[in-house]
Point group: C2
């Protein structure tokens, strides 16, 4: 039974990868670079986007907002005059806990690909399944909040391992927490040695310039692709 | 295709419910009451258990610790001389994001059911799928942290709707956050009107006596069951 399950899962992921490649080919056709942005619920993804999207000089950005249901985050971002498309996962049984390539594909006709250089896909808040499903992205970013504890890289290694940038958010709260940043970084390096990381506070603005520059840099990537 | 998926999901949940009932019958045979304890990653479940498990006067408690991988939380709780059984979900493709009835069933032979009155199942940190799978519990508790934002009940309604108690944790941080407790409670009542809630701080101890009494009360439940 277990081996059957593994086989079914592998086939599902193969199918997902095929669709993710089709998504990426479509993004490439429009020269749109794509960021898959992930975190636990409440780590601050939307606020981190609010802080930088209006100031991405010269980069035309759009957002695909993934949620189980509702459009609260999309409404927040739309108020910044950024084109936002809502993608809800609530069909089925109370809502899928992640975006997959097929869901993103279903949203492609709604995306203004000919008017943007960069698409940020804000995934469903979850540290497990979003990491398992490629959606056609160029790169992955995750946010983890210092309020979540230093052990998260060890407990959710796939998420931390598949990201190119880790935003360590809410550092303004450090004086009020029993949290050891060095311990978090040690655990992070244990699962993803040397991964780029930024200490940021969406509240005070610390590290936000660096985050904006990093994100703008994704849009500037012109490497040839296989 | 969508209808086929819904049908497959419904059948899977039916199968899960059947196994959950078998689990519950086994728990009943040993007069063990069971709490399914859920939250987002880093909301403080393990710390909230550390604060109360050693002082549950007269109640013999055990813990089933669910994690994608590792046993860090189990190790923390075992140091309190509470019997802890680790249940990892990492078989398959990077780890299931929730416990289901079959996983819990597989752990039953490891549980000292004849030596405990109360079993706390600490689920995988995730606000989506854990709410969808009964595991044989009598009741569900969830923890949400004030650092996660006031919108979480609206974004993850199934989780908040299926719990009998909501622990609103980390209230010691309120002076340092832009967080409106009344707004959270308003959103909570919108998805689960009148659900019992406790404002707690695992750090300062505020509300912890009430949490301990609530948990001890579960073990005292002697109502007949269908």
């Amino acid at each position: 039974m277990h081996r059957t399950k593994v086989k079914v899962v592998e086939e599902a992921l193969d199918a997902n990868n095929t669709i993710a490649q089709a998504n990426r080919a479509d993004f490439d056709r429009f020269s749109v670079r794509v960021v898959n942005f992930m975190s636990a619920p409440g780590a601050g993804k939307t606020t981190l986007l609010e802080r930088v999207l209006p100031q991405l000089d010269g980069v035309r950005v759009g957002v695909l907002e993934g949620d189980v249901q509702g459009s609260m985050d999309a409404d927040r971002l739309a108020s910044l005059h950024v084109p936002v498309t809502q993608l809800n996962t609530d069909a089925g049984f109370g809502g899928e806990c992640h975006l997959d390539a097929n869901m993103v594909r279903s949203a492609l006709p709604e995306l203004p690909l000919d008017e943007i250089d960069l698409l940020v896909i804000e995934n469903v808040g979850n540290l497990v399944c979003p990491a398992e499903f490629k959606v056609g992205e160029d790169t992955r970013v995750m946010a983890c909040s210092v309020t979540e504890g230093e052990d998260k890289p060890l407990k959710y290694p796939l998420m931390f391992r598949t990201c190119e940038l880790v935003l360590i958010n809410k550092i303004d709260l450090l004086p009020h927490l029993d949290f050891d940043v060095d311990k978090l970084l040690y655990n992070l390096d244990a699962v993803h040695p040397g991964v780029e990381r930024l200490l940021v506070s969406a509240r005070t603005g610390e590290g936000i310039d660096e985050w904006r520059e990093w994100l703008a840099g994704v849009a500037g990537r012109v490497e040839a692709r296989a």
